[in-house]
């Protein structure tokens, strides 16, 4: 009850003080606003960036703790060795990548080299090339097929459900069912970029794969988000091997064989031995990307927060300055309050309450301004910047703003509070 009475008294008197010195409070808030805003913006930016970076990271790197074995070279035995070792196992999944063209036969695809449909030539763009053991060379224009209604995708064949290592986000339809009998018409799951191509171009359902015994008629069963900017399709390896010999599953132009395993598993040792036996050197690493990224992001966040802290300190200096000047002007008031029985602690509490209320009001304004600005940015630029789509103001930025306001209130009010508590009552006697 006593504590509550003191708290209420400090609050009432503090609010009276703020109301009577509106201009000064406003000036304090102005000096503090930028500091709190800097803290809120840094925290919000870091949280949004972290969420965006980490969300996609697991899709293309894999979950932390996953052992990834990759292998180079163009040995025709790679595919057979990997599939023979991994097929049917729960603790490992093999992924082999190759090129596939879906659409009209005998034409060049609209996105040669499985480049993204927005024309980004980083992924397989440029003039058509042919590669063999002697090297790669440009195909003369006279030998090129005419461009037609066809789409090129990277086709990833899977020996099992890879989502336990890479949690692809379902977008529509369903994922591959590895428990059913393999179909003669291979089921495909597209990634978002490939789905975009199928939305933009009407192509016949005929799929060409280098080395296949015949053209295939695929069934598209779903779409996932795999964070890959290249158009890609996923297929059960056992459905593909109806038409493509296992030895041809490895693209000689662009070796893409990868085995994802739980850690530890005997598969790693067995497969390593087998690959070495056929002259292939595997590269093994354990995914630790999330932790690494988090460490880097935390470091960046700390650096920016330290800079924001410096700006906040300038605001604190502003509050401190105004607070000291105000206490100097209120010497008689504080002496009088002591004369009527107000304890020193409450006098200090009154000054602290004023600076804390100022700090909290400033924090509320800074948080509201940041949240409002983010909303405007999302509305204006969200449609053209996928990164911004669905972004909401992170709650931890709000908490950071409140903490910054509290710290500024305490730091800015502490010295004035101590001074106020030390004012002698005799001041009112000698006045």
């Amino acid at each position: 009850m006593r504590l509550s009475g003191r708290f209420r008294s400090a609050l009432i008197i503090g609010l009276q003080g703020i109301r009577s010195r509106k201009t000064r409070t406003l000036l304090s808030m102005v000096s503090l606003f930028l500091g709190v805003l800097a803290v809120v913006v840094v925290q919000a930016g870091a949280s949004i960036a972290e969420r965006a970076v980490l969300a996609d990271l697991e899709l293309y790197e894999g979950l932390d703790g996953t052992t990834v074995m990759e292998m180079g070279g163009s040995s025709p035995k790679i595919g057979t060795t990997v599939v023979d070792t991994v097929a049917g196992r729960d603790d490992a999944v093999a992924m082999t990548g190759m090129s596939a063209i879906i659409g009209e036969p005998g034409v060049r695809p609209v996105n040669e080299g499985a480049s993204p449909f927005d024309g980004n030539s980083m992924y397989g763009g440029g003039p058509p090339m042919n590669c063999d053991n002697t090297g790669c060379y440009e195909i003369p224009a006279s030998e090129l097929a005419p461009q037609g209604q066809a789409i090129e995708v990277r086709l990833t064949a899977l020996t099992g459900d890879v989502r336990k290592f890479r949690p692809y986000r379902p977008q529509s339809g369903e994922w591959l069912d590895f428990s059913s009998m393999p179909s003669l018409a291979p089921k495909l799951v597209l990634n978002r970029e490939a789905a975009k191509g199928f939305e933009q171009y009407r192509v016949p359902a005929e799929m060409r794969i280098p080395g296949s015994t015949a053209n295939l008629t695929p069934q598209i069963v779903g779409v996932v988000d795999d964070a890959d900017p290249q158009p890609r399709a996923y297929v059960r390896m056992d459905e593909l091997t109806h038409w493509v010999p296992v030895s041809k599953l490895v693209d000689p132009n662009y070796t893409e064989v990868r085995v994802l395993m739980v850690t530890p598993t005997p598969v790693e040792q067995v497969l390593t031995s087998k690959l070495k036996a056929i002259g292939v050197e595997p590269y093994v690493n354990v995914v630790n990307s999330r932790e690494d990224q988090q460490e880097q992001l935390a470091l960046m966040r700390m650096i920016f927060l330290a800079m924001a802290g410096l700006v906040l300190l300038i605001g604190v200096a502003g509050i401190l300055n105004v607070g000291l000047a105000t206490v100097g002007e209120r010497v008689e008031e504080f002496a009088l309050r002591r004369a009527v029985g107000t304890p020193r602690a409450l006098l200090a509490g009154i000054v602290l309450a004023e600076t804390l209320i100022t700090g909290m009001l400033t924090a509320a304004l800074a948080i509201a301004a940041s949240a409002g600005a983010l909303k405007v940015i999302v509305v204006v630029a969200g449609s053209s910047t996928p990164f911004l789509q669905g972004v909401v103001f992170p709650w931890d930025a709000g908490v950071a703003g409140v903490i910054a306001g509290l710290i500024a209130g305490v730091l800015g009010g502490l010295i004035p509070a101590i001074r106020a508590a030390g004012i002698p009552i005799a001041t009112v006697m000698r006045a």
Binding site: G5, R6, R8, S9, V340, P343, R344, G349, P424
Partner: protein, 229 residues
């Protein structure tokens, strides 16, 4: 009957100068409940220092100060603050009203001092009763800038009375007022003795002093004369 206040051999020495100066030199004084007492003397005679010690603003270097038989001359600040709130009321030469508050809020200031908590309704009732007692309840919502000197001093008296103190200490309360207004203020102050509150008035004005039940003279820190009026 035991006196409410018993000062015995109170001495206060001003240090920190080349020659320490004795401000109060063995002052002894009894004040009974409901009694009115005037302390008169020249400037620098130690009147305000004596009032500071009486009001627990300051401590004596020697001597004892008994309140209701309890020695409070060496009270820690926290307990002194509590006692000031519960037993004492103060009126000063300058009114010390907070200009951003109304008359009622200025009076309520003595209730919102961290010594217990009164709900708003009770607080308002007490404030209005105190303003009524000094005859300015109709000015409750006025700010000091819209009141005369006499009205402001009466607000200050209401502030001193709102906690129903046992002792009212007034330091030159009419010093900033004209004679007529000063007399009205003295009337207001004196009326508190009717309900058993002791009034101790420090003044230069012999007319106002003469209206008190007792007058003491302070000269160079020594209480030289006690006159029953």
């Amino acid at each position: 009957m035991t006196a409410l206040i018993q000062l015995s051999g109170i001495t206060k020495i001003l240090k920190g100068q080349e020659q320490p100066r004795t401000i109060l030199d063995g002052v002894s004084l009894d004040v009974h409940a409901g009694e009115s007492l005037a302390i008169v003397g020249r400037s620098g005679s130690g009147k305000s220092t004596l009032l500071s010690i009486l009001g627990l603003f300051d401590r004596p270097d020697q001597g004892s100060y008994l309140l209701d038989g309890t020695d409070i001359s060496r009270l820690p600040e926290r307990r002194a603050a509590k006692l000031r709130s519960s037993h004492y009321g103060f009126v000063f030469q300058r009114f010390f009203l907070l200009k951003h508050l109304t008359a009622a809020q200025n009076v309520a200031m003595a209730l919102v001092n961290g010594q217990g908590w009164l709900p708003r309704r009770q607080r308002r009732a007490k404030v209005m009763a105190a303003l009524e007692e000094v005859g300015i309840a109709h000015l409750a919502k006025n700010r000091p800038s819209r009141m005369s000197g006499g009205e402001q001093q009466r607000v200050a008296i209401a502030r001193a009375l709102v906690r129903e103190p046992k002792i009212l200490l007034a330091d030159e309360p009419t010093g900033a007022l004209d004679t007529e207004t000063g007399a009205l203020v003295i009337d207001a102050l004196q009326s508190v003795t009717a309900r058993g509150c002791s009034l101790i008035l420090v003044t230069h004005d012999r007319d106002h002093a003469a209206r008190m039940g007792r007058v003491v003279h302070l000269e160079a820190g020594v209480l030289t004369e006690q006159v029953a009026v």
